[in-house]
């Protein structure tokens, strides 16, 4: 393992009103690693993922990405970072319903300034790689749940991000589809060298990770290598 972690959370505290979501939470992930954040519903694992991605800012503590303190960055800088270096996969895909699957995948590239043609060409390649070329010109609503989630994975990886954040990526899929999505997701992420922060409460999904951190009541109880 490389000595310097790519992404580190140190002693994060975050409250929503009277509810404490994170309390002294710390994790780290190295480039190319897959970290699974495990825990029951409401334990704070999604909140921790959002803090790591610069979506939420902790009340106290520090999130460091490639030596840069995310908590000290301006909102616009964090947005630019998410656009260029991070990718996201959500439980329900959260694809833009009006755009075709191909256009959905091309969207992050176009947001980053790529030309329409170049973005669509890259998107086509990623859809092929994730074995969903057949839905390229369909709208998300016309694809199955598994296909939609693979499109979402393609969208997360199309910019070749350094880190992919996946929040229950198979939570809405049956086990067969879930397995296939995880296989393709992990294979593609490893090919691109992206680190993955994976939120799940399913051991079957966590088994794809290099190491696990268990979150309970806002605290990270342990982070250990599983491989």
């Amino acid at each position: 393992m490389p000595t310097e972690p790519l992404l580190t959370a140190e002693d994060l505290h975050l409250s929503f009103g009277p509810t404490t979501a994170l309390e002294s939470a710390s994790v780290q992930v190295h480039a190319g690693e897959i970290l699974a954040l495990m825990g029951p519903s409401g334990s704070g694992k999604s909140t921790l993922l959002h803090c790591l991605a610069g979506i939420l800012t902790p009340d106290t503590g520090r999130v460091t990405y490639a030596g840069r303190d995310l908590t000290a960055l301006h909102d616009d800088e964090r947005s630019a970072l998410r656009r260029s270096e991070f990718g996201f996969v959500f439980q329900f895909g959260q694809l833009v319903p009006e755009l075709s699957c191909l256009e959905n995948v091309a969207l992050p590239l176009r947001l980053g300034g790529a030309s329409r043609r170049a973005a669509l060409r890259s998107a086509e390649a990623w859809l092929e790689r994730l074995e969903v070329s057949d839905v390229a010109h369909k709208r998300p609503g016309q694809a199955s749940g598994g296909q939609g989630q693979r499109v979402a994975v393609a969208r997360a990886l199309v910019t070749r991000p350094k880190v992919v954040f996946a929040d229950e990526p198979t939570g809405a899929l049956d086990s067969l589809n879930g397995e296939r999505v995880m296989q393709l997701f992990v294979a593609a992420a490893r090919d691109t060298g992206a680190a993955v922060v994976l939120v799940t409460h399913e051991p079957r999904v966590a088994a794809y990770s290099d190491h696990e951190a268990v979150v309970r009541d806002g605290r990270v109880r342990s982070q250990e290598y599983v491989r």
Partner: protein, 764 residues
């Protein structure tokens, strides 16, 4: 019973949905309420007009009144004046006894020189702005006209006591009030304009109400799906939906009534002065209120049930039926085509028969409804042809391709009102250009002062007094005397009828006729179409006493009328124009006086200084421009009312668009948060919202301009005007609509920024 229970369940669901449920109900209630308020205002127009008419009738001076011997009388003569563009009307009163009748709102007999003013005229005279009005009717103000003697709080009116009236020049009456109605009836053109105006203003309100009912319909459809899951059949879900809508409609009626009360108190002070009325007159006609109370909820239920036909509410969710089914143009064209067919009689001119009016109104409604019907097809087929652009453009176009109905519903109200407004403005403009006055020559003189009093002041007095007025650069009087027939004499041509003789310099006579050449001593015979020309050499008796004999010189040239004159319009009798030298030194007593006046356009209020100077010679002398404004005062008022109505509509529709956009953004908040998580720039999302509103709006305006222009052509043909488009109006209304788009977008941005915080993901 079960049906009522279903409706009641719908009502309970609409008020029991927690904060979001209440928010939806409030949106619907406010939306419908705005429409209901507009309808109530429209329903109050008859009452307002009736109240105005009643008060105007009560103060009217009857033309002919049978006088009871021994009863006190008053002599009255009307004075029509103006200050700038505002009409100022008054009466000269000469009481013939202490118990002489008083007009409504006046409590004491007026001595000569006593002045009683309406509050608005008193305020105007007291302001620094009205120097040109000071002293026009004297300075001795002894009171204020009460509300019962005025049509509205802004009316400029006065009564002036005098001792110079007689029964020849004034009317002798024993009571004020005209029982048979003093208000002028609307001519066919104005009637057409009023009908078009009502259609134009009320149709978008109906569209707006139908739009408001659909606020939050996606949430409602999901609720209905949940009901289906627990066993409700399709009929039950439809009744529950109707119940939900009825709750919104009831709320809308309450909100509308409250808004109407607020509007009623303020609108009386906001309308133009010539149309003023008192706030207490704003009372809707009970029958129309009953119609509104019944029809608005019924319409909203119909709209809801019709909208439900577009979706399939299944136990596991809602399927939109229309997403894959393209809209068809064919049946949508039928409505406006039938409307145009109904308007074709207009091409042959105006007809005031009831049947013709019904056809015109039905035709206008169908053509304007056609805009609302064609627009969804136009937007759908256009957005499906739109190519790619930036991310914001793509997001907007794809959204419109998926569902353009919501955006179109908002825009259709604006499109209908702009189409109607263009037609009305085109008609108003056409009426102005069709007027012969517009062709009058104003290069030398711009206004005339007309005296028709029995006791006409000499031309020298008029010229002297008016010349001294500020801003007057030239004055020339035309004296009128009447020429009567001469008893037949052997060997001499004999005149048959009375005809006017106008006496003036060549310069001023050129205002009346086309004179090729003119010198002092010349005489001309002006023969309009259809009139009989007097023979040169005919002899006449001149003046009121018919005691001065004069012969039309044999050299008198026959000339045509000058453009823009009464004679040019045909139907007038023959006239004789003579220069002073042609009278051969005869001294005739003037029977009428028209003073042509040149004004310096650089002097502010020059026309008002002139009116004030003219009032000193004769208070009832009437000043008018040689080429009046393109529209008459009534036309101007109708146009102003339409503009006020259109602005109100634009605000109303802008508010509904904002509500629609807000609702859509709330529905898509998770997606927006995801896009923000990807690092999507705010300007990209803001641009997307703008394009989603602007594309349908641009298409709607284009359709409105085409439809409005077609209607303009039909209406212009009806009034006999040559086809012309009022590009300024088209530009202004389109520009105003564009401003509404921008303001709506700007108004939605704060919510968009709030929803696009990536922290919104936390709600998943």
């Amino acid at each position: 019973m079960r049906r009522i229970a279903d409706l009641a369940l719908g009502v309970r669901l609409s008020v029991g949905g927690g904060r979001s449920g209440w928010a939806r109900l409030a949106l619907i209630a406010v939306g419908i309420g705005l429409g209901v308020a507009m309808l109530l205002v429209a329903a109050s127009i008859p009452t307002v007009l009736e109240a105005r008419t009643t008060r105007a009738d009560a103060r009217a001076v009857p033309w002919e009144q049978e006088l009871t011997p021994g009863e006190p009388t008053v002599l009255a003569q009307e004075v029509k004046s103006s200050f700038r563009d505002l009409p100022v009307v008054g009466q000269l009163l000469q009481p013939e006894g202490d118990d002489a009748p008083l007009p409504p709102g006046v409590t004491e007999q007026l001595a000569p020189g006593d002045l009683v003013l309406s509050p608005a005229l008193a305020d105007l005279l007291a302001s620094d702005d009205a120097a040109a009005l000071q002293g026009r009717w004297g300075e001795r103000t002894v009171g204020t006209i009460g509300a019962e003697g005025l049509t509205g709080p802004k009316e400029l009116r006065f009564y002036l006591g005098t001792d110079e009236l007689d029964a020849d020049s004034a009317r002798r009456i024993q009571s004020f009030g005209e029982t048979e109605g003093s208000a002028e009836g609307l001519g066919p053109v104005l009637l057409l304009l009023a009908l078009v105006g009502m259609v134009v203003l009320l149709l978008p309100v109906a569209i707006f109400i139908s739009t408001a009912v659909r606020f939050g319909s996606e949430n409602r459809d999901r609720r209905l799906a949940a009901l289906r899951l627990v066993g409700a059949d399709v009929g039950t879900t439809r009744r529950v939906a109707a119940g939900e809508t009825l709750a919104g409609a009831a709320g809308g009626l309450v909100v509308g009534a409250l808004l109407f009360l607020a509007i009623g108190r303020t609108v009386a002070y906001a309308v133009p002065a010539g149309m003023g009325f008192y706030p207490q007159d704003v009372r809707p006609v009970p029958a129309l209120v009953a119609l509104i109370v019944v029809l608005v909820p019924a319409t909203t239920v119909l709209v809801t049930l019709s909208a439900l036909k577009q979706v399939l509410v299944e136990p596991l969710g809602v399927v939109r039926r229309s997403s894959e089914r393209r809209r068809r143009l064919g049946w949508r064209l039928v409505v406006p085509v039938v409307g145009l067919a109904l308007l074709t009689p207009l091409l042959g001119g105006l007809d005031t028969s009831v049947g013709s009016q019904v056809m015109v109104v039905a035709g206008l409604i169908l053509v304007l409804v056609g805009v609302a019907l064609i627009l969804p097809w136009l937007v759908e087929s256009t957005v499906h042809r739109l190519g790619g652009g930036g991310v914001a453009w793509d997001l907007a176009v794809r959204r419109l391709q998926l569902d353009s109905g919501t955006a179109v519903r908002s825009v259709s109200g604006i499109a209908v009102s702009v189409a109607g407004l263009i037609a009305v403005q085109g008609l108003v403009g056409a009426i102005g250009t069709a007027s012969h006055w517009a062709q009058a020559d104003t290069s030398t003189f711009q206004v005339t002062v007309l005296e028709t009093d029995e006791d006409v002041a000499p031309a020298e007095t008029w010229e002297r007094e008016l010349s001294s007025a500020e801003g007057v650069t030239g004055v020339a009087a035309v004296t009128t005397v009447w020429a009567g027939p001469l008893p037949s004499q052997a060997g001499q041509s004999v005149s048959s009828d009375e005809m006017p003789i106008y006496i003036g310099t060549c310069e001023v006579l050129a205002q009346e006729a086309r004179l090729e050449s003119c010198d002092d001593g010349d005489a001309f015979v002006l023969v309009p179409d259809g009139a009989t020309a007097p023979a040169p050499g005919s002899a006449y008796l001149l003046g009121a006493g018919q005691d001065t004999r004069w012969t039309l010189p044999a050299s008198a040239e026959t000339v045509g009328p000058a453009p823009g004159t009464v004679a040019a319009m045909g139907g007038a009798s023959a006239q004789i124009l003579v220069t002073p030298g042609a009278l051969g030194g005869l001294d005739v007593e003037p029977e009428g006086m028209t003073v042509y006046v040149a004004l310096d356009p650089a002097v502010p209020d020059a026309a008002d200084h002139l009116r004030t100077a003219a009032a000193q010679v004769d208070p009832v002398a009437y000043e008018s421009p040689i080429a009046p404004e393109r529209t008459t005062m009534i036309l101007g008022n109708v146009r102003e009312a339409l503009l006020v109505g259109t602005v109100a509509l634009l605000v109303l529709i802008g508010a509904s668009m904002l509500v629609n956009v807000t609702e859509q953004l709330r529905e898509r908040r998770q997606l927006l948060a995801v896009l923000a998580a990807f690092g999507t720039r705010r300007r990209t999302l803001g641009g997307s919202v703008l394009f989603q509103i602007a594309v349908p709006m641009a298409l709607g305006l284009a359709l409105a301009v085409v439809t409005g222009s077609v209607l303009t052509l039909a209406l212009q043909a009806a009034v006999g005007a040559s086809p012309a488009f009022d590009w300024r109006t088209i530009g202004m209304t389109s520009g105003a609509a564009a401003v509404v788009v921008l303001l709506t977008t700007a108004g939605s941005l704060p919510l968009l920024w709030r929803l696009t915080r990536p922290a919104g993901l936390r709600n998943e």
